[in-house]
């Protein structure tokens, strides 16, 4: 006799899994990671690896405390914590002391992700929250620790402390690099992953081709930021490119703001979400004179539930149509 299994829907499974998507994101992050290692040397590799290892270990320890079996943990491991660790490492400077990536990853995974219920239940992006935690916790280290990259960073041991990133120097009215330098990341002091926009774009193209992210949203975010920066700079059109090419805007827009869990589920919500992100980023940058992409994303993550509009049910009249109906009704009554 054949065994009949009765189960709830869904009965048809798609080929896409969280694991597959996360592996795609890791592949997309590799160019930026490699460029970071080329620019900042072994130290950058060390920081990112430390963040990754700590993130994964924290998740394992947390699940072991919850009394799950090791075989189950390994089977259910979906690489999200690895992506979180990698992103967190890439948003740090290569000069940070060893405890910064460790504490940041522990906070991101244990507090932001696991305490809220694990993958897909977090209310804010763990990597962003981890970065902001270490930013607030070790302010003196985080602000002063940027180095100027050099192509032969792997061989030479003494690096020049750059101090200000191009973004901070631009916001404070200082001299700036050319747009091409900003795009390629040559001579840009900053976080490990944010320097080379070309590498980040390469990863973005991969993600778009694999349909992991929608190309509309990062572009909407970046362009809104640029336009808002132009407006704030008294309609000076030359401010457009430097403002979008400096700082962590590309990294945030491509890999962090598009996180599935913390973006609205409808297109309408997404248009508002990413436009508001762009405006917030430009305005806060103008007001505080520091890099604020992570803070803007954290802020919008928290208001995201308000933007989760209920999609229109089949056959349901939209509010605009309802309004038109009322209007015509009113007009016909007046005509009488």
């Amino acid at each position: 006799m054949a065994k009949i299994i009765v189960s709830d829907s869904p009965h048809i499974k798609g080929p896409r899994t969280t694991k597959g998507i996360m592996i795609d994101v890791i592949i997309a992050l590799i160019p930026a990671f490699v460029m970071g290692c080329v620019f900042f040397g072994v130290k950058a590799l060390f920081v990112v690896a430390l963040a990754c290892v700590t993130s994964v270990l924290t998740e394992f320890v947390f699940l072991l405390i919850q009394k799950k079996k090791i075989s189950d943990i390994l089977k259910e491991f979906d690489f999200t914590s690895l992506v979180t660790g990698m992103l967190l490492g890439l948003t740090l400077s290569s000069e940070v002391p060893f405890y910064v990536p460790i504490l940041g990853s522990i906070f991101a995974i244990a507090v932001i992700k696991m305490l809220f219920g694990g993958t897909g239940k977090n209310i804010v992006n763990p990597a962003i929250a981890g970065r902001i935690f270490v930013f607030i916790a070790f302010q003196s280290v985080m602000i002063s620790g940027y180095v100027l990259p050099s192509i032969n960073a792997i061989t030479s041991s003494n690096q020049i402390l750059g101090g200000a990133t191009p973004l901070t120097s631009m916001l404070n009215g200082g001299p700036n690099l050319s747009n091409l330098d900003l795009f390629l990341g040559t001579g840009v002091a900053g976080c490990i992953g944010e320097t080379s926009k070309a590498a980040l774009l390469l990863g973005a193209i991969y993600l778009v081709i694999k349909r992991v992210i929608n190309w509309k949203w990062p572009i909407l975010y970046i362009v809104t930021t640029g336009i808002m920066a132009v407006i704030l700079d008294k309609f000076n059109l030359s401010a457009f490119l430097p403002s979008i090419l400096s700082g962590g805007l590309f990294l945030g827009a491509i890999y962090m703001a598009t996180d599935y869990v913390t973006t609205p589920s409808t297109d309408k919500g997404c248009y508002i979400y990413f436009t508001a992100l762009g405006i917030l980023t430009a305005v806060l940058r103008y007001a505080t004179k520091i890099e604020v992409v992570s803070f803007a994303i954290l802020l919008m993550n928290l208001v995201m539930p308000l933007l989760n509009f209920r999609p229109r049910a089949f056959g349901e009249i939209s509010s605009w149509q309802k309004f038109k109906q009322k209007l015509s009704h009113w007009q016909s009554r007046r005509a009488k």
Partner: protein, 218 residues
């Protein structure tokens, strides 16, 4: 002397109805003043002092105060006591007075004190009320002091102002850190409380079974 009653009042104040961790009252001074252990303990002791006296006076006047205007009457009594302690602190411990700032006059509307006045002092005799105020205050002091010690140690690397280490996580001295530590403490306290309660229940159940079996044997 009714010892079991007093014991009950004491455990109620410190553990069962711990104002900070179990009832989540008096959150404002807890979050604002636990940045350093000294401030936290000082605030706790000030609350204890005021709570004991306010409970005593309210219990004393419980038959005089009309029911309709009891809250203004309580506030008047508490405000008098707060004014007294403000003057005392300003004269004798000016350092603590300055670090308390606006939170000292705010004790007037502290929910712990009004809550104990409403919940206990207006229907219990004087000595019981004073005892309840004292132990609730001690519970508050211990809770705030613990939070203060942890936050000061992690945020400034010191213990009651003594510098122990150079490593510091400034996050814990900020408001976000206060909320974080507060939540963690509530979680730990409630988990420990539940574990102890379960143990006692099991013990009582075992005793109960024993009694039953003895009865059956007889």
């Amino acid at each position: 002397m009714n010892w079991s009653k007093y014991k009950n009042i004491a455990t109620n104040g410190v553990l069962k109805n711990n104002p900070i961790f179990r009832l989540v009252l008096g959150t404002c001074p807890t979050l604002a003043l636990t940045g350093s252990a000294l401030n936290a303990f000082g605030m706790g002791l000030a609350v204890t002092f005021i709570l004991t006296l306010s409970n005593t006076f309210i219990s004393l006047l419980r038959k005089v105060i009309p029911d309709e205007v009891r809250i203004p009457a309580y506030v008047l009594i508490i405000a008098t006591l707060v004014t007294i302690i403000r003057m005392l602190l300003e004269k004798y411990i000016p350092v603590l007075f300055e670090s308390f700032g606006v939170y000292l006059p705010l004790i007037v509307v502290n929910c712990i004190i009004l809550g104990r006045a409403e919940g206990f002092a207006n229907k219990n005799p004087i000595f019981d009320s004073a005892l309840d105020g004292f132990f609730t205050g001690i519970g508050c002091t211990l809770a705030m002091g613990l939070m203060g010690i942890v936050r000061e140690f992690l945020g400034a690397g010191s213990f009651f102002g003594m510098q122990l280490m150079d490593f510091r996580i400034e996050f814990f001295t900020s408001a976000a850190g206060a909320f974080f530590v507060y939540g963690m403490f509530i979680a730990i306290f409630n988990a420990a409380y539940k574990a102890i309660e379960n143990k006692i229940n099991k013990k009582n159940f075992a005793l109960h079974l024993e009694e039953l079996s003895i009865k059956e044997n007889n």
